[in-house]
Amino acid sequence: MRRLLLPREWSPLRYAELWQDGEELLYIHSSRFSDRYARYRFRDIQAFVLTEFPLWNSWRAWWLGISFFFAVVLLLAPPGWWKLFAIMPGVFLLWALVYLLRGPRCRLVLHTAVSTVTLEAVCTIAQARAVLPELRRLTEAMQGRLAPDGLTVVTLPPAPEAPAPAHNTPLLMHVLFGMLVMHALILAGFYSGNKLDSGLGLSGTLLLAELVMGFLAALRWRSIGPLMTIVSAMVVLFCLADSGVLIYSTVNSLGGFFTAVSQRGAKPEDIEWLWLKEQSVGRAAWHAVAGLVGWVLLMASRGSRP
């Protein structure tokens, strides 16, 4: 019986997984184009060493600084079509947001008699807190427990049956649904201020971020369960359709604007955006509904978990 001990540690260029495969720990490390497997019997594991790292270090501070620089540029930008370039700070900010929300990092090292391996499937302290007690339980069930004096072996009763794998709800889902609701509120703010054209760049950026996050969430279908996978896939589909509408209207609007510029020297504030009010209202509506429904389903699935 193979059991995933921890949701996949994912990045665009690699991933790592920890599985319990009977009396063995199965560690999978992939560079996307090749997978490497390693098995460690629980009775051979000598030690786990968890080293905690602070959230901040110098290069991460630089990287976050760059993202916030782009965000400031976006906020200070005058109204006009070039705000469409807000995609860049959006990507940086999404990256920074996910990084900050995942919390402080750690390194988990496994020792056996013949090898010392860094388990890259465990990168954050939250992940370590989730998986280390289970690894200890499985190993102690095979070997007994070593008392803190380092000499006495405490024999443990037989380990109970492994619990059924519970569906995990990663922080990513909360961030995704929160972003949907926040997007709806921002659009409502622009609507009430009668500055819908100023919000188009930010809206496009948020749409891209939601698309990426929905896609990442759907990729975790094994850990988040079928319901959240369907919701994530629906968010991705809506984002794609909405992005299509936004791109179509933008291209048409800017095409007309450039024609006007070439003919009579129009200014950026003269742009007549296609379907501006309709698409903004529709966008706000589906974001609000999707965010709230997603959150309700998320809470309902948490409550029904054994």
């Binding site: 594991i45 030690a47 060493v49 968890l50 080293t51 020792h111 190993t139 102690e140 070593l146």
Partner: protein
């Protein structure tokens, strides 16, 4: 195992910090380190010494003719003494078969489906490259369509997507050479 080290500075963690209920600071770098040591680290299992062959009727080890055989290799069937008996998962194997089992081909897998998908998608950033990479992607897709899974099952969605994109790219190239190129030549001809 005589010692464990900090994952950040490689300083030795004193045994007084082992198996505590909470992480303790490293004596060198002061980072929080949580060490969990298990009994096998301090009380390793002792390997049994091989017994000598006493009578000519007893089976002896393939590698050590004077040692009494205690098991047969599950892979090659050779008799093994206590020294040569490698306790593999689910049985006994000789050192040679153990080496063969542990060869890289058995614990490493190349994902040709991912390679094919990358070959058919990434070159689209440079519009002329798919002319060369699409055939390579199709080659990988067809050659490794039925490649067996090693440990974890792997679905075929990447291969299907590769085929779909490759067919679309081929269609675009055919359309380009059939419709656009002759049209541009025709448009360049001088009017009579």
């Amino acid at each position: 195992m005589g010692y464990v080290v900090c994952g950040a500075c490689s300083a030795r963690i004193p045994p007084t910090n082992w198996n505590q209920e909470f992480p303790l600071p490293c004596p060198m770098c002061s980072r929080e380190v949580w060490v969990t040591v298990f009994p096998v680290a301090l009380h390793p299992p002792k390997a049994g010494l091989p017994e000598q062959v006493v009578t000519g009727q007893e089976a002896s080890c393939y590698n050590h003719v004077n040692n009494r055989a205690v098991a047969a290799c599950d892979d090659c069937g050779r008799f093994l003494c206590a020294l040569c008996d490698v306790d593999a998962v689910g049985g006994h194997v000789c050192p040679a078969c153990f080496e063969r089992r542990e060869s890289p081909a058995l614990h490493e897998r190349v994902n040709y489906d991912s390679i094919a998908l990358a070959l058919v998608t990434l070159p689209m950033l440079l519009c002329w490259l798919p002319v060369f990479t699409t055939p390579a992607a199709l080659f990988f897709a067809f050659k490794f369509w039925n490649a067996p899974a090693l440990v974890m099952p792997r679905s075929k969605w990447r291969l299907w997507l590769t085929l779909l994109i490759a067919i679309l790219q081929i269609a675009v190239v055919i359309w380009f050479f059939a419709a656009v190129v002759p049209g541009s030549r025709g448009g360049a001809l001088p009017k009579e």
